[in-house]
Amino acid sequence: MSGPLTPSQTVGPFFGVGLPFEKGEQIVAPGSAGAIRIEGQVLDGNGQPVPDALLEIWQPGTGFGRARTDSEGAFNFMTTKPGPTPAPDGRPQAPHFNVTIFARGLLRHLLTRMYFPDETDANARDPVLNLVEPARRDTLIAKNCGGVLHFDVRLQGERETVFFAI
């Protein structure tokens, strides 16, 4: 069905007064059991940092996080690793976060997923990763850098992150 949906518009550059909130990036407190830190950078088609982006992570059962990028395009979240969730057809999906990206210059938000680097077998069987051309799958898998998970979002160009239709 297609009712008259309200169209999207960009979040613009000045959402800082309205959307970020204190500890929005902390789904769990630092130091709590199972806490993991995710760090990344949002980059444009020239590889330049995007200092006016807002990211949200959504995971049923885990929680909701919201973080904006700083002047270097950098963001971070503190959360716990989600468990496997079933796909609509009942098959298991590898642990992942749903990530939404808003920014000046994005007339609609973008959707992507962050998977975990220590889930090689589950990732290989994941029904969504298997829909992505093999050469681009690694854009969706975080990298373990000394216990911190690193996940960059490249909006455009070489090694562009895979985004999903809404």
Binding site: S8, F14, P88, R108, Q156
Partner: protein, 227 residues
């Protein structure tokens, strides 16, 4: 037109900011249902007076006090209760409380420009604020944004997430604004324009504008549960 064809494209070159930020590769379509899941608990507190942007400081902000209200609905016209509505806007002079806003217009010590509320049992939200001013931006020579209020909506579903902007009726800047004109059809653009609401206008106090918002629902038809 499909739902997607009614939305602005990611790349809209007249809006210069899209040129290096729009994905160049096609988005990957997932089979129906992968984005059908409920929103997790929203951790931000929403207090009683958060809907009133005119009462956040010692004094009242300068500008034209207005009421902005409307209903949040699904595409079948059903009210979406307890939807989180967050708004932010420029002050009456067209200036945001943001260190990156360089427009040489005054800040207002009595106006922050942010509010939030939950929709009620009829899906209705209500804000009290001041009418935001138009302001210049550097997209092209002599570029001005029409007066607008930014809205962020978190419904019960992942797919219903929406960030958009509400405009005011009769604003002559709308036809010249590439952000608004990025919406492909006139009917879609008109869905972002509030209407003056004389019934809700409070005599001797504030004009009212009404704007309804329709959010996406689940892609898949929900199963009817067995009794």
């Amino acid at each position: 037109m499909s739902e997607d064809e009614r939305e602005p494209p990611y790349l809209y070159p007249d809006y210069v900011g899209t040129r290096l930020r729009a994905p160049a590769k096609p988005l990957v379509n997932l089979p129906e249902g992968f984005h059908d899941f409920p929103a997790p608990l929203f951790p931000r507190t929403i207090a009683e007076l958060d809907h009133d942007l005119t009462r956040r400081h010692a004094g009242e902000p300068i500008g034209e006090r207005i009421i902005v209200t409307g209903r949040v609905l699904d595409s079948d016209g059903r009210p979406l209760r307890k939807t989180i509505v967050e708004v932010w806007q420029a002050n009456a002079a067209g200036r945001y409380l943001d260190q990156d806003d360089q427009h040489p217009a005054p800040l207002d010590p009595n106006f922050t420009g942010a509010g939030r509320c939950l929709t009620d049992d009829d899906g209705e939200y209500r804000f009290i604020t001041i009418k935001p001013g138009a302001y210049p931006w550097k997209n092209h020579r002599n570029a001005w944004r029409p007066a607008h209020i930014h809205f962020s909506l978190l419904g019960g579903e992942f797919r219903s997430r929406l960030v958009t902007q509400m405009y005011f009726p009769g604003d002559p800047l709308m036809p010249r604004d590439p952000i608004m004109q990025s919406i492909p059809d006139q009917a879609g653009r008109e869905r972002l324009v509030s209407r003056f609401d004389p019934q809700t206008t409070v005599p001797e106090w504030a004009l009212a504008y009404r704007w309804d918002i329709v959010l996406r629902g689940r892609a898949a038809t929900p199963f009817e549960h067995e009794p």
